[in-house]
């Protein structure tokens, strides 16, 4: 978001920010209500993470302007996501300790 933004486009942005705010508030309540549903733990985890991911996408996309951001930043983030998942599951390597070859 740089200096080329006109007053009208900023006012459009403000409308979008308020809609996103409403969506985030509703999704927060939905997350809490969903946690009281009579579903299995794995279904509960799946549902909670899906809702959290939608909320996170809204924040990153609209508040952090990622939907209209330059490719340089998108590439930095995609690389980060790859390494994030590599690190997340890195401890799984410890299972190879149990394999007696």
């Amino acid at each position: 978001m740089s200096s080329e933004h006109s007053t009208e486009s900023i006012q459009d942005h403000i409308r979008v920010y308020l809609i996103v705010f409403g969506a985030l508030a509703v999704l927060t309540i939905v997350t809490v209500v969903a946690s009281y549903l009579d579903i299995s733990t794995s279904e509960g985890i799946f549902l909670a993470l899906i809702i959290a991911s939608i909320k996170a996408s809204l924040v990153a996309g609209y508040f952090m302007h990622l939907i209209s951001e330059k490719n340089t930043i998108i590439w930095v983030l995609m690389l980060t996501v790859v390494f994030f998942f590599v690190m997340l599951f890195l401890p799984l390597i410890s299972y190879t300790d149990q394999v007696h070859i």
Partner: protein
């Protein structure tokens, strides 16, 4: 010496340096919190079931039943307080982006109002967190009490430190000492606020995952 490309974009990246800089910093933050989330997942996978007895019974459980350790300890946390805190942090994110938009609309007084609201929300978040923490301590619950509490205090504590860090920068930009730059270099000041906003939205984003993971699952 003047820092290059903090008002005008670089031709090769199409970005101002400060924006690329904060995104690379946020990438490192993703790895920092990612490591702790990874720890949470593996600690949870290895967590045992606890047999409820007369000695360790808590409200909502029955003597003789086996309860998953993370569920047992998470029952100590207050979902209503954390829900309020989630809403408070979301509100602070909106007011932060509104503060930036106000500068884009050349309205410094509105900027000060929205930045003030953001600061207030951050303060409310910390006060609620303080009551949550002291509530635990009064019940003799500490990070050493269980694996769940250890990862709970680590994750929320690290997140809380990020809130405090953000607040320090916000106070600086809110007070005349910081925003006097608006008079001489309005574009540079707007860019600074945008970069602060990116950091603040990230702190909100981390909480969006912490809330269900620690309180609800």
């Amino acid at each position: 010496m003047e820092v290059p490309y903090i008002v005008k974009e670089r031709e090769d990246t199409g970005l101002i340096n400060s924006k690329l800089g904060i995104w690379i910093f946020l990438a490192s933050e993703i790895m920092l919190f990612g490591g702790l989330f990874s720890a949470y997942i593996f600690l949870r996978l290895a967590a045992p079931d606890i047999l409820i007895t007369e000695e360790n019974i808590k409200p909502g459980f029955q003597v003789g039943e086996f309860v998953f350790a993370f569920k047992y300890w998470a029952s100590e946390l207050s979902v209503p307080l954390a829900t309020v805190n989630t809403l408070v942090l979301i509100s602070s994110s909106v007011s932060m982006v509104m503060a930036w938009a106000s500068l884009k609309l050349n309205d410094l007084s509105k900027y000060k109002m929205y930045m003030g609201i953001t600061l207030l929300c951050a303060l409310i978040f910390l006060v609620i967190k303080y009551f949550e923490y002291t509530g635990k301590f009064h019940h003799d619950i500490y990070p050493s009490s269980s694996t769940f509490m250890a990862i709970y205090f680590t994750l929320t504590g690290l997140h809380g430190i990020h809130i405090i860090g953000g607040m320090i920068v916000m106070i600086y930009f809110w007070l005349p000492i910081g925003n006097k730059m608006w008079d001489s270099q309005p574009e540079l000041f707007t860019n600074r606020v945008e970069v602060l906003g990116l950091y603040w939205h990230f702190v909100d984003l981390v909480w969006i995952f912490l809330f269900p993971v620690l309180y609800l699952l």
